[in-house]
Symmetry: C2
Subunit: 117 residues, 2 copies
């Protein structure tokens, strides 16, 4: 068992092209030898956003605080604390802060070794 | 893509022996054909707790609100909003509300089809 607080985990800037003002903390992944999936904590600064992209794995997102939106091909939906978002494999998406405080969410993905389709 | 709020998802009582005052909402699972893992939302009433047990799959837990503790063989740790807990496969554990408000957390598990060891 491993117990911690999100704020104790090292924060890293996301430098992927298209990312702006995004910080990631990997809460449970390689550090706990997670077999199947990885839970990450994201903070997006006001005016910032994650890259608009797609990939072969899914996301399961839960919003902790702030105001944001998720964008997809042909639409977007506002998000707030308590919102959840399932992004299917290969679906285009990004997350944008539309408020004045940090937009904070959990985003879980499969581990590489569990990712077999 | 599927977007929702936790409060819009049907709440079900947990009737497993040893559970007391526990409500579950499956936010992302069969409803979104989740390939690899399932995100569930739990509320534990004051004085309540989840069963003390073990099983062959892992948990990844993130506490949203309230005061609780996680118990394991030989120890326990207090939890509050922002705490996370990794419970390894086969590790004994339960979650108990030690406060006066609901103890609320996310708990993700692998899907049955991804659960191959």
């Amino acid at each position: 068992m491993q117990v911690g607080k999100w704020s104790e985990v090292e924060a890293k800037g996301v430098s992927e092209p298209g990312a702006s003002g995004v910080t990631i903390r990997v809460l449970m992944g390689d550090n706990v030898s997670a077999p199947t999936f990885v839970m990450r904590h994201f903070e997006v600064a006001p005016g910032g956003g994650t890259p608009y992209h797609s990939h072969a794995w899914e996301h399961e997102v839960y919003v902790l605080s702030g105001k944001g939106k998720v964008r997809r091909k042909g639409g977007e939906t506002d998000l707030e604390a308590g919102s959840f978002v399932y992004v299917a494999p290969e679906e285009e998406h990004n997350f944008v802060n539309i408020g004045t405080a940090p937009f904070v969410f959990l985003c879980a993905i499969p581990t590489k070794k569990s990712y077999v389709r």
